[in-house]
Symmetry: C2
Subunit: 383 residues, 2 copies
Amino acid sequence: MRDVAIIGVGRTPVGEHWGSSLRMLAADAINEALKNAGLTQVDALYLGNAYGASVSSQTHLGALVADYAGLSGIEAYTCEAAEASGAAALRTAYMAVASGSVETALVVGVEKSTDTVGGARVMARNVSIDADFEAAQGATITALAAMLMRRYMHEYHVGLDVFEGFSINAHANGGRSEYAMFRNTIKPGRFAGAPLVSDPVNLFDSAPDADGAAALVITTAERAGDLVPQPIRIAASSAATDTLALHDRSDLLYLKGANLSAYKAYQQAAIQPSDIDLFELHDAFTILSTLTLEATGFAERGEGWKLAQSNAIGLAGDLPISTFGGLKSRGNPAGAAGVYQAVEACLQLRGEAGANQVANARIAMIQNLGGLGSTAITHVLKA
Amino acid sequence: MRDVAIIGVGRTPVGEHWGSSLRMLAADAINEALKNAGLTQVDALYLGNAYGASVSSQTHLGALVADYAGLSGIEAYTCEAAEASGAAALRTAYMAVASGSVETALVVGVEKSTDTVGGARVMARNVSIDADFEAAQGATITALAAMLMRRYMHEYHVGLDVFEGFSINAHANGGRSEYAMFRNTIKPGRFAGAPLVSDPVNLFDSAPDADGAAALVITTAERAGDLVPQPIRIAASSAATDTLALHDRSDLLYLKGANLSAYKAYQQAAIQPSDIDLFELHDAFTILSTLTLEATGFAERGEGWKLAQSNAIGLAGDLPISTFGGLKSRGNPAGAAGVYQAVEACLQLRGEAGANQVANARIAMIQNLGGLGSTAITHVLKA
């Protein structure tokens, strides 16, 4: 297996891009990433997208985006694992380059979800849960996250307020980034009283639907050193799954997929959780952040929220998370979220994170979840 | 790069499976492929599907199908390139095993498209053409194929009847297979007068929407030899694209993607077109068969239809195509079509094709197209 590195990054601001279509957003991120890598051509493009069919009546985005970005003819297709689609595209590109099938590849995650409102948006986003046994009964992904959170509060005897540190941290970091969608500060004590979305999940708890695109250029580690001063090596790439429907899980409060994929990554990268300098986790809901920290070896079961009570998850803490605002403040452009995580981790490892810089960051982990942990794809990046 | 081989195949009959959901069809094919390989577990599952979101309101099929097939926990995600999704999944599995990331992988293509009728079906299938500049103007993939066919007839001064050999051959072969959807014989001279779908494309010209699932088990060539008596080696895997919208093509009658991907495959497999014993091409419309043969080195431009006038494409011909009926007679379960092609090619190379056997088949090429050649993914298989 050939060693693989990231040599270019690009992204659009996250927000409501009503004036840009999927192809336009994707091309903006691609052009920036190619420029960042000093290249004008690649061999392949792997694209992450979750809601193209349901929001924009458009699939087949690989060929469409390759052509629109001026790369017509190259290999291109879409990778989809709901909200983990961006990481699935990165993993595919990693395997393409590692195998020798492809020398240089683009990864682009792109999503538009804000062109729909109300019930139409709920329907369009709800394709990632079990259509026959969850969505058909009226469940939504937010309602299911609320059930997880309620169960957690019941099992571990904690109130809603214990989760507030995750959102306070995300907004504190997002407030420093011009790419973030919601840069407002969340003041301590205000979290538990925010307007409800699906009890107990509230407005300060759940990441906003968003539009955006992010891109990476990757190639062999050998070639990377000749092309850019600071290639970022992909030290591990792994994926795992859990049941799609929550009712099929034997243990509702344990993210099996997140656990399996993280530990495969630790083994491949030959590291321990304690070696990780920052962790871009999938904070679509604070309950996901909590359960992720417990599943990936950073907290005991029932205690993930405690990391958010201390300064541990801040930029200067032991385990900085959501360093550019995470899904909560940067915004959640579903199929692009995993690529944003990778772009942000690369900027940290290059020392180019500006006001969001984690000091001496050498090893970053990123984990992108689909649904409520039904898919978990993990990458470890090294400076 | 590690050599890769196919060690198990499975498929459901192609047709209208109103009593089976996506997960049920996929699991049927998976179980048969695992049994065929003599395995009960794999490391990863790559799934091809084109219309899950638009027909069944279901994405995230990787995790869903892995769990339903009793493989919960393994790596799993979807690969999508419209009707070439099945081949995209095969290509991803190939790269996963070739890279060393994965030892044994399942490929499954699954589609349901017959649960919708009339306008709803047109809308659901139309997501693979350009939503903003084709579909929004009322175009459908069949109407666009009709434009291609009309242009071809005009440029090369041929009538509709010259294409009939493709459909006669497909139905002659499909009539011998219990897996085919339409097994009726098409009599010479009846083609040009069939009821029109989109002038000049008619009922005997276009492949039927269908439901079905097909699966492959693949592993390293080294391991394959220990597991099964007749592993089928993947000698080449390649992908290329063309514009999504027809109006963006500088040459309407030249399938650039099909050409690029086929010639990359010839190079990788170190073969010439004349070395190929059978070619499962993407015969969704006879104009696609014609243009494919011209783009891939089997016919001069303007002469692809001539191969269908002779016995060249029959089971005993120089270049057998659609040996189990192709998309036209076997049926076109979009995102599964490319995996059916691979299953059928493996059976030919194993000598297990029964009444459909091509004598002494040693090298097979399969090419799966998305849209009207916007994506082209080619594999060369060797006995």
